[in-house]
C-alpha cells in the first residue's frame, strides 16, 4: 500500500482543480461539496490502508520513503518530491484527512446558499493538499512548500467573505495580519533551513537525522537551528510572541476556524518540532525556551479567554492556550505526549468550533454570548456534543482530553520542574472555568436573545453527523494512550517510539518509578479541573452577580484582560507604525525619489552631455573628413615605419 502514498496528496489536488476550474459552472451545491468531501475522504481511506499495513509490518520496516520525482538538482543541493511514510506522518495524515473530511461534510450544510460556495471548497481542498505535503514530506524544503501553502490558504479562507467588516477593519485586514505574522515566522524557518543545509549538506530528513547522531548535546549550531525553527513554529502555531493573528482569524467562516485554526494548520509547528526531535534534543537551551514559552502562552491565553464575549474568540484563545500545552510537552522532551494532545485536541476543538458554528448559524450570525442563553432546549444535540467537548477539554476523567493533558502535566513535573506543573495545572483550571462559562452563557440559564427576530433551530443533518462523530472520538480517543500507572498500555507512545528513538538516546531522561507521585499529581489536577468546571457552571448559571461584582472590583485587571493585555496596541506602536513611518518618509520620499530616480536621470543626462561633445565631429564639411583620412594614413604609415 505504501506506494499509493502519493495518491493521498493527489486526490485533494484533483478536487482543487476540478472545483477551481469548473466550480463556478456547476450550480449544484451537492456536487461541488461532494467532490471536495470525497477527495479528502478518499485520502483518508488510503491513509487508513497504509496504517493497517504499517501495523502488520515489523518495527524496523515501518518507515519508508516513496519518491515521486526529482525536484531540484543544483550543485550540491538535491531535493526530491518524496514522501516519508512512517508512524508520525501517517498519524498526522489520518488526523488531517479524517477531521478534514468531517469538516468538509459539515461545510456543505454551513455554507449553504453562499455565493462563493465553490470557492470555499476549492480553497479547502488546496489547504488539505498543502497540509498533506507538509506532514508527508521527506525533506525540509517540501515541508516548507506545504508550510507556505497552508499559510496562503489561511489567508484566502480568513478573508473569504471579503466584503465584510470585522472589528476595526475588514476581513481582508485580518487575513493580511495572519499572513504577515506567519511570514515573520517563516523567515525564521528559512534561516534554519539555510543553516541545516550548511551544516549537514542536505535537506532530507534521513540524511540530516543520521548525521545529527554524530553531534554532541549542547552544540552551538544546533541551538541556532532549533531556535530559528521554533521562531517559525511560534508564527504558525500562534505562540508568544506571534500569536496575535489567531484571534483575528476568527473573521473567517467557522469551518475554517475548525479545520485550520484548531485541528490542522496550527499543529504544523508542533509537527515540525516533533519531526526534528533529535535536533531539539541536541539543544537543551532551545528546549527550555520552548517549554517556557509554551507554558507562558498556555496561562496567558487562558486568562484572556476568561473575559471574552465572542463565542469564537473564547475558543480561539483556548486554542492558543492548548497549543502552549503541546509545546510545553515538546519542550520537556515528551514529544509523544505532545502529539497525543494534538490528536485529542483536534477532536474536541474541532467539535467545539463546529458546535459554535451551529449556534451561530441558528442565531442568524450572532456571535456575542451575552445575547444568547437557554439554547439547550432548542438545539439539544448540539448542546450535548458541545458539552462532551467541553468536558474533554477540561480534562474530565476518562475522556480523551484527560489522558493527554494529564500525561503532559506529569511529564512537565517529572522531566521539567515542579513549578511548571503548578502553572500548567492552574492554566488547566482556568481552561475548565472559561469553557463552562461559555457553555453556561450560551446554552443554559435565561434566554437573553430577541425572540421576535431570532428563531433558533437544530442544525441540519449534514452538520450534525460530524458533531456526533467527533463527540464519539473525543470520548474514546484517549484510550490508545492510557498510562501505565492506571493499569493500561500506552499504545500511542509505543507506536511513535521509533521516531523519537534518536532524540531519546540524546536526552537521557531520568527514570520515573514512583507511581504514587504520579497518581497524586493526577488527582490534584483532576481536582483543580473539577473545581474550575463547577465554579464556571455555578457562577454563570445562577450567580452572575458574583461575576459582575468581581469584574467591578478588579476593574483594572478586567480591562487589561478584556483588551488582551494591549499586546496588539503595543505591537502597533512599537513595530508596525515605525515601519510605516520609515517607509513613508524615508524610503519613499527620500530614497526612492532622490536616489533611485536621480541615478537614472543623471545617467541619462551624462550620456546626453558626452554625446553633445562628440556630435561636433559631424561638421558636414567634406574637407574635415578628408583631414581625418590623412590623419589615419599618417597613423598607419607611422605604424608600418615603426616595425
Amino acid at each position: 500500500m505504501y506506494q499509493f502514498a502519493p495518491l493521498i496528496i493527489l486526490f485533494p489536488l484533483v478536487g482543487f482543480l476540478i472545483n477551481g476550474l469548473l466550480g463556478r459552472k456547476i450550480k449544484n451545491e451537492t456536487i461541488v461539496g461532494g467532490i471536495g468531501t470525497i477527495a479528502v475522504a478518499a485520502s483518508f481511506v488510503i491513509g487508513l490502508g497504509i496504517f493497517f499495513e504499517m501495523l502488520s509490518r515489523p518495527i524496523e520496516e515501518r518507515s519508508q520513503v516513496v519518491t515521486v520525482f526529482e525536484w531540484i538538482s543544483a550543485g550540491t543541493l538535491s531535493v526530491n518530491v518524496a514522501y516519508q511514510v512512517d508512524q508520525l506522518s501517517i498519524l498526522m495524515t489520518l488526523i488531517v484527512t479524517g477531521v478534514g473530511s468531517l469538516i468538509h461534510l459539515y461545510s456543505i450544510g454551513y455554507m449553504h446558499g453562499d455565493a462563493g460556495f465553490w470557492r470555499f471548497f476549492t480553497y479547502l481542498n488546496l489547504f488539505i493538499f498543502a497540509m498533506l505535503n507538509l506532514v508527508l514530506a521527506d525533506n525540509y524544503l517540501l515541508m516548507f512548500l506545504g508550510w507556505e501553502g497552508v499559510g496562503l490558504c489561511s489567508y484566502l479562507l480568513i478573508g473569504f467573505w471579503y466584503d465584510r467588516n470585522f472589528e476595526k477593519g475588514t476581513t481582508g485586514d485580518a487575513a493580511k495580519k495572519a499572513f504577515i505574522v506567519n511570514r515573520i515566522g517563516d523567515f525564521g524557518f528559512l534561516l534554519a533551513m539555510f543553516l541545516i543545509f550548511n551544516t549537514f549538506g542536505s535537506l532530507a530528513y534521513e540524511s540530516v537525522f543520521a548525521q545529527a547522531k554524530g553531534f554532541s548535546v549542547g552544540d552551538n549550531v544546533m541551538f541556532w537551528i532549533t531556535l530559528l525553527m521554533f521562531v517559525g513554529a511560534t508564527g504558525k502555531s500562534a505562540q508568544i510572541p506571534l500569536y496575535i493573528w489567531l484571534p483575528d482569524a476568527m473573521a473567517g467562516p467557522t469551518p475554517v476556524s475548525a479545520l485550520i485554526h484548531a485541528a490542522t494548520m496550527v499543529t504544523a509547528g508542533i509537527y515540525m518540532v516533533a519531526r526534528s526531535s533529535i535536533l531539539f534534543a541536541l539543544a537543551p537551551g532551545t528546549m527550555e525556551i520552548v517549554a517556557v514559552i509554551g507554558l507562558a502562552t498556555a496561562f496567558f491565553a487562558g486568562t484572556i479567554g476568561l473575559v471574552q464575549n465572542d463565542i469564537k474568540k473564547v475558543l480561539a484563545y483556548s486554542t492558543v492556550s492548548q497549543l502552549g500545552y503541546m509545546f510545553l510537552a515538546c519542550g520537556v522532551g515528551a514529544f509523544a505526549a505532545g502529539l497525543f494532545h494534538v490528536m485529542t485536541h483536534a477532536f474536541f476543538k474541532a467539535l467545539l468550533f463546529l458546535g459554535s458554528g451551529a449556534v451561530i448559524h441558528a442565531m442568524h450570525d450572532e456571535q456575542d454570548i451575552q445575547k444568547m442563553g437557554g439554547l439547550q432546549k432548542y438545539m439539544p444535540w448540539t448542546f450535548r456534543t458541545f458539552l462532551i467537548g467541553s468536558f474533554a477539554i477540561s480534562g474530565f476523567p476518562l475522556l480523551s482530553g484527560f489522558f493527554s493533558k494529564d500525561e503532559i502535566l506529569w511529564k512537565a513535573f517529572a522531566d521539567g520542574a515542579p513549578w511548571m506543573w503548578v502553572i500548567a495545572a492552574l492554566a488547566a483550571g482556568v481552561t475548565a472555568f472559561y469553557m463552562f462559562r461559555l457553555v453556561s452563557l450560551t446554552f443554559l440559564g435565561k434566554e437573553r436573545f430577541d425572540h421576535h427576530h431570532i428563531h433558533p433551530h437544530e442544525a441540519p443533518k449534514t452538520m450534525l453527523i460530524p458533531l456526533l462523530v467527533l463527540a464519539l472520538l473525543s470520548v474514546i480517543g484517549g484510550y490508545v494512550g492510557i498510562p501505565h500507572v492506571l493499569g493500561g498500555h500506552n499504545y500511542f507512545e509505543e507506536f511513535l517510539e521509533p521516531i523519537f528513538a534518536g532524540a531519546n538516546s540524546k536526552m537521557m531522561l531520568p527514570m520515573h518509578d514512583s507511581a504514587a507521585l504520579e497518581l497524586g499529581l493526577m488527582a490534584g489536577s483532576v481536582a483543580i479541573g473539577l473545581l474550575g468546571m463547577f465554579a464556571g457552571w455555578k457562577i454563570y448559571t445562577q450567580k452572575i452577580e458574583v461575576a459582575e461584582h468581581t469584574a467591578k472590583k478588579f476593574s483594572g485587571l478586567h480591562k487589561l484582560l478584556w483588551n488582551k493585555y494591549f499586546v496588539d496596541e503595543i505591537y502597533d506602536a512599537g513595530i508596525v507604525n515605525p515601519i510605516k513611518q520609515t517607509s513613508d518618509r524615508f524610503l519613499w520620499k527620500i530614497f526612492d525619489v532622490k536616489v533611485i530616480d536621480n541615478t537614472l536621470n543623471y545617467s541619462a543626462k551624462f550620456i546626453e552631455a558626452t554625446s553633445n561633445i562628440f556630435r561636433r565631429i559631424q561638421t558636414g564639411v567634406v574637407q574635415s573628413y578628408a583631414i581625418v583620412f590623412v590623419a589615419g594614413i599618417l597613423v598607419m604609415l607611422g605604424y608600418l615605419m615603426g616595425r
Partner: protein
C-alpha cells in the same frame, strides 16, 4: 607631388581646385608606378598606369558633373558652405 595634392585637398575651398588636387595626387602615383616599372623591368607598372588613367578620366567627368549639379542647387562651389549634413 602627392603631399602637394593632399595639402590642396585640405586647404582650398573651391571644389574645382580640390578636384584638381586630386588629379595631382593620381598623377603622382602614376609617376612612381612608371618609375618602378622602368627600373624593375616589369611591364605591370605601365599597365596599371594605363588603367589608372582610364579611371581618372571617368572620375573627372563624373566629378565635374556632380559639381555642376551642386552649383545648380546651392549656387556655390565652396565646400565649407555645403554643410547641411551637420549635427
Amino acid at each position: 607631388m602627392f603631399c602637394c595634392g593632399v595639402l590642396g585637398v585640405v586647404v582650398r575651398r573651391n571644389a574645382i581646385v580640390i578636384f584638381m588636387s586630386i588629379e595631382l595626387m593620381l598623377n603622382a602615383v602614376n609617376l612612381s608606378l612608371v618609375a618602378f616599372s622602368s627600373f624593375l623591368g616589369d611591364s605591370t607598372g605601365q599597365m596599371l598606369v594605363f588603367f589608372v588613367m582610364v579611371v581618372a578620366a571617368a572620375e573627372a567627368a563624373i566629378g565635374l558633373a556632380i559639381i555642376i549639379a551642386l552649383f545648380r542647387n546651392k549656387q556655390t562651389v565652396y565646400v565649407d558652405e555645403i554643410n547641411i549634413l551637420k549635427w
